[in-house]
Structures are given as structure tokens and as C-alpha cells.
Amino acid sequence: MLKVAIKEKEEDLRKYKNEFKVSSPILLDEKAEVANAYGIQSHPQTFFINREGKVVGRALKGMDWTSRSIRNLIQHLLGEKK
């Protein structure tokens, strides 16, 4: 899982990672290039990208990643044939 922060300061990101004990990498999109490439107009947004690099799902708001529905969705997507 990759997190991308749009136009944030590196220092703020470090504080955020420490404060919320985030272990996964956070990428810094300094010029909002990733945001533009994905057509981000509101945030947060989450994209699910399959093995072929194709966007197969998109969430338009903050998600509860521990919820059953999200677990089921991820398991379903992981179960896609190679």
C-alpha cells in the first residue's frame, strides 16, 4: 500500500508518521503531478490497482481499513486470476 501526500512539507510528513505511527511509506507529491495524473479533485482518494496496472476500484473518501467490507473487497481483488 502506498500513500501519497499532495504538496505537504517533508517535516510535516515526518511528524504525521511519528504521531500516528504509520509504518507504510508515504510518497511526497510536491508538484501535485500524481494528483493531476489521477484526476484527483477531492481528497483523500484511494485507488486499487491490479497486477496489470489497471485501476479496478476507487474510493472517494476516508476508509475504515479494518472494516469487514474493505477486507472482503481486498480479498476479492487479491483473488483475481494472474
Binding site: 502506498l2 501519497v4 501526500a5 494528483a35 493531476n36 484526476g39 479533485q41 482518494q45 486499487f48 481483488l77
Partner: protein, 188 residues
Amino acid sequence: MLTLSIGLLGTRCATPKEEHVHGEASPIKTYPKDYVHSLTEINLEKVIDENRGLKVLEENARTVHDYYRGGVQEKAEGERLMKEGKWEEARTHLEKSNRFLQVVLDYFPKDEAYRNLYGDHVVIFLPNLLIADNYLKVVRIYHKLKMDDEIYWAARDGKKFLSFSLRSVKTEWGFQIKKGFEEASPKR
């Protein structure tokens, strides 16, 4: 599978000091719940006129008012470029407008026909509607660029913000946008 979460921190900004700067807010006219504001009363030109002035840069925006003005200014630029047929450039500005306005919604999620946004200055305050209108324009751009796969998502997002807007304030402009989405977006 890769999960890409974009924009997790959000942008923080200062809230307006309207209650403190002048002691009391300007009187704002209230309307019955189902009052529909006509196009002559509330329209894009008026919103753009109210937010003209020194260009707001993203890195300099601090207050909700800055973000609202920045959102409107970027929208105005996007609209201008659309008239010139510069679709990609227009899209970039409309998307930037939506990012500005999204910050506004973090603080004031509801549209209001008139809001005292800073000092004693009352403005037409429709961030949800402006975002919806931006999405409608983006849908039209996708049509022009034959980016059919994107149309569904942009229309879906736009309709969501339009419903938020119409829930708070009924405007003829909003109903026009609704019609625009019905005409422009395919059903899945």
C-alpha cells in the same frame, strides 16, 4: 494488487475571524427552506466578480477565504480556457479549483446562498455547487477528448457534490447543472 491512497494529510488552514474582527457579522437575509434562488440572483458571473483581485496562489493561501477565492479564480481561468478550446489546460485549472474548494469544505461543508466569509464581507458561498459545476465542465472536456472511461467517474463525483449543494440551497443554477449531468453522462 497496489493500493494507492492520495492526499492523506489534507490541507490545513485558518478559519475566518468573522466573529472577532468587527464584533458582529453583517446582517444576512434568510430565505424559506424551499426557496429557489433564480439565475439572475445567483450565477457564475456574480461569483467570479465577487472573488476577483490579487491572484491567490496555493502556497500563499492561509484562510478559508483565500481558498474560496483561489477556487473561484482557478474556475474562472478554466472556464476561459474552455471557451478557447484549450481542453487539457482548462481541465487542469478546474481540477485545481476543486482542490481549493475541497479545503473550504473541510471547514464549512454546507453551501449557503450568502455567507459572511471574512470581515464584514458577505459573498455567495456555494463550494459544493462550484465543485459540481467544475465536474460537469470536466465531463464535457472528457467528451471532447474522447476519454469515455473517465466520464462516469467525474459525473458520479459531480452529482454527489450537487446533491450536497441542493440539500442546503436550492438554486436554478444547481438545477441546470443537474440537467447538464443527465444529458452528458452515460448510465452504467
